[in-house]
Subunit: 370 residues, 2 copies
Amino acid sequence: MKTDGLDLALVRSTTRAVGAAMFTENRVQAAPVVVSRRHLAQTQPQAIVLNSGCANAATGERGELDALATAAEAGRLLELEAEEILLCSTGVIGVRLPLNKMLPGLSEAASALSETGGEAAAEAIMTTDTRPKQASASGAGFCVGGMAKGAAMIHPKLATMLAIVTTDYPLEEGEAEKFLRPVVERSFNRISVDGDCSTNDTVILLANGAAEIERSEAGDREFERLLGQVCHELAEQIVKDAEGFTVLLEVDVRGAVSEAQAAAIAARIASSPLVKTAAFGHDPNWGRVMMAAGSAPWNGGYAELDPSKVTLAFNGTEVLVDGAHIDVAPAMEGPSCVIALDLGLGEGEASYLASDLSYEYVRLNAEYTT
Amino acid sequence: MKTDGLDLALVRSTTRAVGAAMFTENRVQAAPVVVSRRHLAQTQPQAIVLNSGCANAATGERGELDALATAAEAGRLLELEAEEILLCSTGVIGVRLPLNKMLPGLSEAASALSETGGEAAAEAIMTTDTRPKQASASGAGFCVGGMAKGAAMIHPKLATMLAIVTTDYPLEEGEAEKFLRPVVERSFNRISVDGDCSTNDTVILLANGAAEIERSEAGDREFERLLGQVCHELAEQIVKDAEGFTVLLEVDVRGAVSEAQAAAIAARIASSPLVKTAAFGHDPNWGRVMMAAGSAPWNGGYAELDPSKVTLAFNGTEVLVDGAHIDVAPAMEGPSCVIALDLGLGEGEASYLASDLSYEYVRLNAEYTT
């Protein structure tokens, strides 16, 4: 589905679906985000148009009209209302959507729609991703599948993460968000490549009930679990394909006063350039981890932490127990670095995945000059 | 004053001084910070002991006793109360202060005290700083002088910024903080090397009134201005001597709804790895700047910003006017990159200084492996 200069994917539910989406919270929001948010407030989404190459961000009113024109044309081709179409764009900021390529491309994509087109779609939304990102999981009589594109500063002028998750599990109108939000909070919202939040980030869930199974509490719990698994796998694939990636950094915080504070501390550690360069250097640098842990923004101050109660391990080897340093050498050679902190304060726990900070990250983001 | 493995400096007021200090807000605070904070609550500081090589951080109760022993010995040598001594340490975390070297060193430093020892002291507190950092300014009948050490991850296990500012301007007890706090807020608190906040950061002001001039409102205003100038110069010297520094990044935000929100937005831009790698690459990448500006943490959400009202310039050349992109090529060759944003929302303004993110920064912080 790749055409020169513009990559396009079309996702459509085979039967009437319900859906939900979560968007970037950046104050600078791309036109497709603005339009999709509006459509979602009006009706249930049935199809998604994704394009790479142009983010349609910082394009003003003109950008919104271009996004609306795309939705209208997709609606016409698929015999849907324009409001039933959601839009995802990724690419250069500040450039208008090339409708002259976009509209013919849509028509091509619509006629190429097939139930086995997932792989092609996952490829179509790649920009500098090195591989397509897909995940799926099967439950009792239903399945959950998803695709995503990278979270790094993919194109030199844009960081964007897009993820589409579909299921044939039956959900009622309005329920999709209830399932999606906590899962996104614990997967896509707990990865960091460079701590930067794009203008276009979008996660969409479409559920069409095509599995034709009975709803049950056990089914709901299983669906929730599989949705979480698929989102977690996609999130991990995004980190592992991050620009300049060499080491997968996993930060597990437990014993915090709350899950939210655990997440704040894990995020701060996973985003610290000093921790990330240490990971690149395979250095069990607990001093940097403590420095970062002690300065996790929380409510205008810092999250609660008592250094004398902290136990800290690198790849399973404790280097700090109740605040006292132990002179050992954790195994750090491998391609993953697991930093586990027990704060000894409460029951809150959260994990975060991040890439390291390497020469290659700097090269990729510095060498391109406009 | 350098001795092998331990660098020591002693600063003492020639006449009775009043003072104030501001410390790191990290939850992990080094013993010298804990002890100095306590001393400052009891009396006016008259002397400061600074050592490099050992941070005396994450050393528990033992570390506090070592810090107290240092203060007691300095007090004995200088005929002061132990509580009149403040302590600053920088160096490796998790290692005990080598009192066997520290105490003899103190005695040496005390007998070497001289009114012209400023340069030697500025050198003594260097770790991997490449040059001593000093600044001074003269007013009508008084002067303000200061020294500082770097803000980068100086030693592989510690990021620390220390700054001592002295003046012979007459201040009453309790007044020093009133002058120091807003100045630090606008100088040392508005620089960023890697966004990481150390366990030992300290800024101290000592004012001894030795100038013997009359206080006046005009004098106060002049003192305030010179104090600001000295702190700003020291802060700039710290950034310019940052690890891996190649480009001085200055972010000027105006037109925000408040000064605090302007500072939050400027800090977010100046700390963004994507903006910092672009600065390293001499790339006027306004898309990254907008992305960062739109996601500046504020009150649990993001600071106010309306993309359609933003005017943005690189080194004086506007690339965005009221949100509309202008296709020009700003001059980016030089060693400084000034990013100016006018948000068009209100009267709030703030500036931030930062170093760029270079290969050398990654090398310095990754190559050392413990």
